[in-house]
């Protein structure tokens, strides 16, 4: 068993195993592998065992349990949990203990899932490699000398190495989909407003969404359904009813249209290009008509994103001032209020977070607001209009999730080059539509095989269609003919 969510859930529900046996297995694997991978910052071993025991007791009593009873889920450490700390992999929140649970955590609990621990990320979800984690870099289970992607790299690595049945990530510009692609698992960013952001530490409030990172499309559908839906505590949640996606997953439409923008075919590694052609062929065999579409704004996405996201971040991160919570500087000269703010923030935030706060402050400052921020918001409308046009011509857009497979740790040092990792994912967030990444082949050009991910994007709230086509591609593609080495040595 690959330890997928559905398999684990069914084995527990049918009493083929106990929730306690399941969690003990995961905890043993975490013990063996986390020292190398650094996927988890914190593991709730004792609490998870106790929760598993109550699930087992409830099953023995014949109680009616939630849809994820006993399933161990890892949670990205920028999602607030009363249990343990919520650090965002930042020194400024090193000892922060949330007084409340995020809405998604409450919904996991209502489904009787078990939170097994908190996973590492690029500090405040700003990065594409998990090298900018205050608690050390996360490593890719397929090749520990390489990055797992980011920012939800801890969650993606934990799923890929079978250190949880599924995980939660957050996606502001690709932070669920890109690490899912680099680790060979499934990552789904819901339509903006579909999942409550209450308790997700805010980065870019008009871009952020929580979503699942899983072993399969079906797992992602189930975990998404547990989390989705309106929440009075998040005023940007969509009020419209959530359409079920798991029940219709295998109902592949008899005919459907898949658009491939020619802009998605340039600058990719050869293995990524090969995987794209293969995915198009597989979808065609499954009933798709492949159409050429045009997304000329693709290249402007990174520039637009690196105005809007830092602008929102500079405002959101203003709350970390060393007063009510978080790191407070004791440096000489911090007796003055201004110096206390400035020293606490300089000591608490890492270099990339400071860079983005500076960039965001600059583009919002007097004299530059119109030239940068207002203009980026106008171009955001153009990007949205372009997706509207293209998604009237096809049901989904197919393309690579990332231009390359996982790169070596330390291999990308220039900030701008790192930003370019997200060229195919940022526009999904800018337009507020939905997107899913799934494994679509292996890159054999390096020492070890590395997974390659493909992305499907669909119109806002068209999750049912997105999942049907993703499932069709997954079924046609079949399992990868290799597994991460740590999976085989640790299992």
């Amino acid at each position: 068993m690959n330890g997928d969510l559905v398999g684990v859930r069914d084995a527990i529900a049918q009493r083929a195993t106990s929730a306690r046996e399941v969690i003990d297995g995961y905890l043993a694997r975490i013990d063996a592998a986390n020292g190398v991978l650094n996927a988890y910052h914190e593991v709730f071993a004792e609490e998870a065992r106790a929760a598993a025991d109550s699930v087992d007791a409830a099953i023995s009593r014949g109680d009616r349990l939630g849809p994820l009873a006993g399933v161990p889920i890892a949670v990205k450490d920028n999602i607030a949990t009363k249990l343990g700390t919520t650090t965002c992999s930042s020194r400024i929140l090193e000892n922060y203990r949330s007084p409340f649970d995020a809405t998604v955590i409450e919904r996991l609990a209502a489904a009787d899932a078990i939170v097994v621990g908190k996973t590492n990320l690029d500090e405040f979800a700003m990065g594409s490699s998990c090298e900018r984690c205050a608690w050390g870099p996360v490593r890719n289970p397929w090749d520990p000398s390489r990055v797992p992607g980011g920012s939800s790299g801890g969650s993606a690595a934990a799923v890929a190495a079978n250190l949880c049945a599924a995980a939660l990530g957050s996606d502001t510009g690709g932070s669920i989909r890109q690490p899912a692609a680099l680790c060979g698992v499934v990552g789904f960013k819901p339509t903006y407003g579909r999942v409550s952001r209450y308790g997700l530490v805010a980065f870019g409030s008009s871009l952020d969404q929580i979503g699942p990172i899983c072993h399969s499309v079906r797992d992602a559908a189930l975990l998404y359904e547990v989390m989705a839906g309106d929440d009075p505590r998040d005023s940007t949640c969509a009020a419209r009813a959530v359409e079920p996606v798991s029940a219709t997953l295998d109902e592949t439409p008899r005919t459907f249209r898949v658009g491939i923008p020619h802009q998605y075919r340039k600058g990719n590694s050869p293995a990524v290009d090969t995987a794209l052609e293969r995915a198009a062929l597989l979808l065609q065999k499954a009933g798709a008509t492949i159409v050429d579409v045009d997304l000329p704004m693709t290249d402007l996405g990174i520039s637009t994103y690196y105005v809007i996201a830092p602008a929102e971040a500079s405002s959101n991160l203003a709350r970390f001032d060393g007063i009510r919570y978080g790191h407070r500087s004791t440096a000489h000269g911090s007796q003055d209020l201004f110096d206390l703010y400035a020293n606490s923030r300089a000591e608490g935030f890492g270099a990339e977070v400071q860079r983005r706060i500076m960039l965001g402050t600059y583009v919002l400052s007097a004299g530059y607001y119109d030239a940068y921020y207002r203009r980026a918001l106008q171009i955001r409308r153009l990007i949205k209009q372009e997706f509207d046009t293209v998604l009237a011509q096809c049901d989904v857009i197919l393309g690579p999730t990332s231009p390359t497979a996982a790169f070596p740790i330390g291999g990308v040092t220039d900030p701008l080059a790192m930003y370019m990792c997200d060229v195919y994912t940022v526009n999904t967030n800018i337009a507020g539509i939905c997107g899913i990444s799934l494994q679509a082949g292996l890159d054999h050009s390096a020492d070890r095989p590395l997974p390659v991910g493909m992305q499907l994007q669909a119109q806002a709230f068209n999750e049912p269609m997105l999942f049907k086509i993703a499932r069709a591609l997954e079924r046609a593609s079949g399992p990868l003919d290799a597994a991460p080495p740590s999976l085989t040595t640790v299992a």
């Binding site: 000892n95 203990r97 007084p99 409340f100 903006y192 407003g193 008009s206 009075p232 940007t236 969509a238 009020a239 402007l300 520039s303 690196y306 105005v307 203003a318 001032d321 060393g322 007063i323 009510r324 919570y325 978080g326 790191h327 407070r328 911090s334 007796q335 003055d336 209020l337 201004f338 206390l340 400035a342 923030r345 300089a346 935030f349 400071q354 860079r355 706060i357 500076m358 960039l359 402050t361 600059y362 400052s365 030239a371 940068y372 203009r375 918001l377 106008q378 171009i379 955001r380 409308r381 153009l382 949205k384 220039d414 900030p415 701008l416 930003y419 800018i430 507020g432 539509i433 806002a460």
Partner: protein, 104 residues
């Protein structure tokens, strides 16, 4: 990389750092300026786009303010609210003197 609108001086970087409440050491101002200039140089491609008549889009969903009923309901307890405070004085959060200092 000195093209476009990114004519950012060291003085500008110092000013932005002050607005952002970040203590940037003197020897970091230069490197930080270069990083920002490189990023702003890339972002300068936005200036070439014709945006005439386009309504800025601050948010992906068309939505209006959603207000809850104006009624009292339980919130955080005092101990929960104070539990992460780095310095306390009884039931208060201790802070440096705000008035009368030379705060900027």
């Amino acid at each position: 990389m000195d093209d476009g609108p990114a004519q950012l001086s060291i003085e500008d970087v110092r000013h932005v750092a002050k607005l952002a409440r970040l203590a940037v050491p003197e020897d970091r101002l230069g490197p930080m300026r270069e990083e920002l200039v490189a990023i702003l140089g890339h972002i300068a491609q936005l200036q070439a786009v014709d945006t005439k008549g386009l309504e800025p889009m601050a948010h992906p969903l068309p939505m209006t303010n959603r207000l809850r009923a104006d009624e009292s309901r339980p919130g955080l307890s005092l101990s929960d609210a104070l539990r992460n405070a780095p310095a306390r004085h009884g039931d208060f959060i201790a802070v440096p003197k705000v008035l009368g200092g030379e705060s900027s």
